[in-house]
């Protein structure tokens, strides 16, 4: 099958959606399909052979923060050319409801189109899809995929129509084995965190508060924090002076080191306060076999099988997190149980399984349809 995938975000910027597309494309290629991905990318970024660059994404304010997005008629032309040259059997767009190459691809193409929605979005922002010009694009989608129940709910409630839930894939093999960082986890135990330091939804401050409770009780316990952005001093100032030496900030780490970080801790903590539709980082930690303590948000409850594959604590509640993490640190048997349960649970999300499900959606939408073509609708652009 010839498959065209549109990626909304810059290929050179790390992110969940980009990683999803990369893993999906590589799995599909491994299965013998022809895949081409169009994505914004800086001109000098080395791209894998299956990625077509669509020029730089422009930083613009969107939804209260600055996003790097592709829009405008030049992008339209690039998408049109890519579709013409690709001769795809199916077009797969990701996050078509944001201003992106995906939306443009929907608008320009006709034929079988599959869309994957990754995030759950508040109602207020969804109103915008009633714009006629946007709706025209979205109405062409033949099959919708949501990566989580939460993302599906957004679709059903706000855009209308339904979606099949196909969870995010995890390249579990990549996470299974790695050497811990030198000196970790150490005799006093260690708790790990991965994620942006400056994004409050990732919940680092909840974990730091919990460490304020746990730290004094357990003199050897350390906190290993890896993630981009954020001011290290600012983070450390949230921790009482006497505990600061035991909070280790690694900054942004490479993919390889990320796996090592997961293998360097006794307990991995996902204190997110919301905004997570799947919890890819948590799933990766599960694939590494680390016992998980996660906040009780929908995405994590589902991923951790309602608490069977990891401890859940009351979202945002540092004391409850301290209780749950402390309990795990004290109980190696329970940790071993959770580790095994997490590995078993995350196997359902392995890319080989997920890509097969996605392929079934492709096979369904191409039934009785022709190839993907460039539609007339966008042709009044130069």
């Amino acid at each position: 099958m010839r498959i065209g995938i549109a990626c909304p975000y810059s290929w050179d910027v790390p992110g969940g959606v980009q990683q999803h597309i990369r893993d999906l494309a590589e799995e599909l290629i491994f299965e013998g399909h022809e895949v081409s991905v169009i994505s914004p990318a800086d001109d000098d970024t080395p791209l894998p052979p299956y990625v077509v660059g669509a020029g730089r994404a422009v930083p613009v304010p969107y939804n209260g923060s600055v996003a790097r997005l592709s829009f405008g008629f030049l992008s339209v032309n690039r998408v049109r050319r890519w579709l013409k040259e690709g001769g795809f059997d199916v077009l797969h767009v990701h996050e078509p409801e944001i201003p992106s190459l995906s939306l443009l691809a929907c608008w320009v193409a006709s034929g079988p189109i599959v869309a994957t929605v990754h995030t759950s979005i508040p109602r207020s922002r969804i109103l915008l899809v009633t714009y006629p010009v946007v709706r025209t694009g979205l109405e062409k989608i033949n099959g919708r995929i949501a990566v989580s129940e939460a993302a599906r709910t957004t679709l059903v409630e706000h855009i209308g129509g339904d979606a099949v839930v196909i969870p995010n894939g995890v390249a579990t093999r990549r996470y299974r084995k790695a050497d811990p960082l030198p000196g970790w986890p150490g005799p006093g135990g260690a708790i790990g965190f991965l994620g942006r330091l400056d994004e409050s939804r990732k919940g680092l401050s909840v974990l730091l508060k919990a460490f304020e409770i746990l730290g004094p009780q357990r003199p050897g316990l350390r906190l290993l924090v890896a993630g981009p952005a954020g001011d290290a001093d600012e983070v450390l100032h949230k921790v009482p002076a006497e505990l600061r030496a035991r909070v280790v900030l690694l900054g942004q780490v490479s993919e390889e080191d990320k796996v090592r970080v997961l293998h360097s801790v006794d307990v991995f903590c996902s204190p997110n306060t919301g905004g997570e539709s799947f919890g890819i980082v948590t799933a990766e930690a599960m694939a590494a076999g680390v016992p998980i303590v996660a906040s009780d948000i929908d995405a994590f409850r589902q991923l951790l099988r309602g608490g069977k594959a990891g401890e859940l604590f009351a979202t945002g509640d540092a004391a409850d997190l301290a209780r749950a993490a402390g309990g795990l640190l004290d109980n190696p048997t329970r940790r071993a149980e959770l580790s095994a349960a997490a590995l078993a649970a995350v196997a359902d999300y392995d890319w080989s399984v997920v890509a097969r499900d996605v392929l079934r959606v492709y096979e369904t939408v191409v039934l009785g349809s022709t190839q993907v073509k460039v539609a007339a609708a966008g042709s009044d652009f130069p």
């Binding site: 030049l74 201003p99 922002r125």
Partner: protein
């Protein structure tokens, strides 16, 4: 003796008149600040409605439409409704408009389309008015704040309960360099 009293009364009267004139001036300044602020609000509303019209016009590609639409949407409702503060939301709209307008050959791609030139001109004119109204408002604020700082006004509390007016800062230039000399794209 009598003349002394007359002089004292006259001086007291003069002081009274002067003080009341000063109080009146402070009052007038505050009223003018309010008017200038209302003008800023009106120009911002005009700009966002022009941008909204452009976004829904079907002239732009859907991604640009959505981008502008989202920015316009952000200017409605304030922090009370969980939105962004006004100045930040309006600056976001400025940046979104700037991003749309600064695409290479943006104008060329639209010229000849029905109503495109008029709409673009309307957005630009509205943006320019925002720039002007905000400048006038901030001038008034500066004068008023200065007047409020005078010793006599402070000691006698002539500004009463009126709160000191705040400057309204936002990005309002549609061209990428931050000079506020002209908000019109060149």
């Amino acid at each position: 003796m009598i003349t002394d009293i007359v002089i004292v009364v006259a001086v007291a009267l003069l002081i009274g008149v002067y003080v009341s004139w000063r109080a009146g001036r402070i009052d007038r300044l505050h009223a003018r600040v309010e008017m200038a602020r209302a003008a800023v609000d009106i120009t911002l509303l005009r700009r966002s409605s022009a941008a909204s019209e452009l976004a829904t016009s079907g002239l732009l590609d859907p991604a640009t439409s959505l981008l502008l639409g989202a920015a316009v949407h952000g200017t409605r409702g304030g922090p009370a409704d969980g939105g962004r503060p006004r100045d930040l939301a309006e600056s976001d709209l400025t940046r979104a408009l700037r991003a749309a307008f600064s695409q290479p050959d943006f104008r060329a791609s639209l010229s000849g389309k029905d109503g495109a030139d008029e709409l673009l001109a309307e957005v630009e004119a509205a943006a320019h008015q925002v720039f002007l109204a905000r400048k006038f408002y901030n001038d008034m604020v500066a004068v008023t704040r200065d007047a409020r700082r005078r010793p006599l006004v402070r000691v006698l509390h002539l500004s009463g309960n009126a709160r000191a007016p705040e400057f309204f800062e936002m990005e309002d230039s549609l061209i990428a360099d931050k000079s506020s000399a002209s908000p019109l794209p060149g």
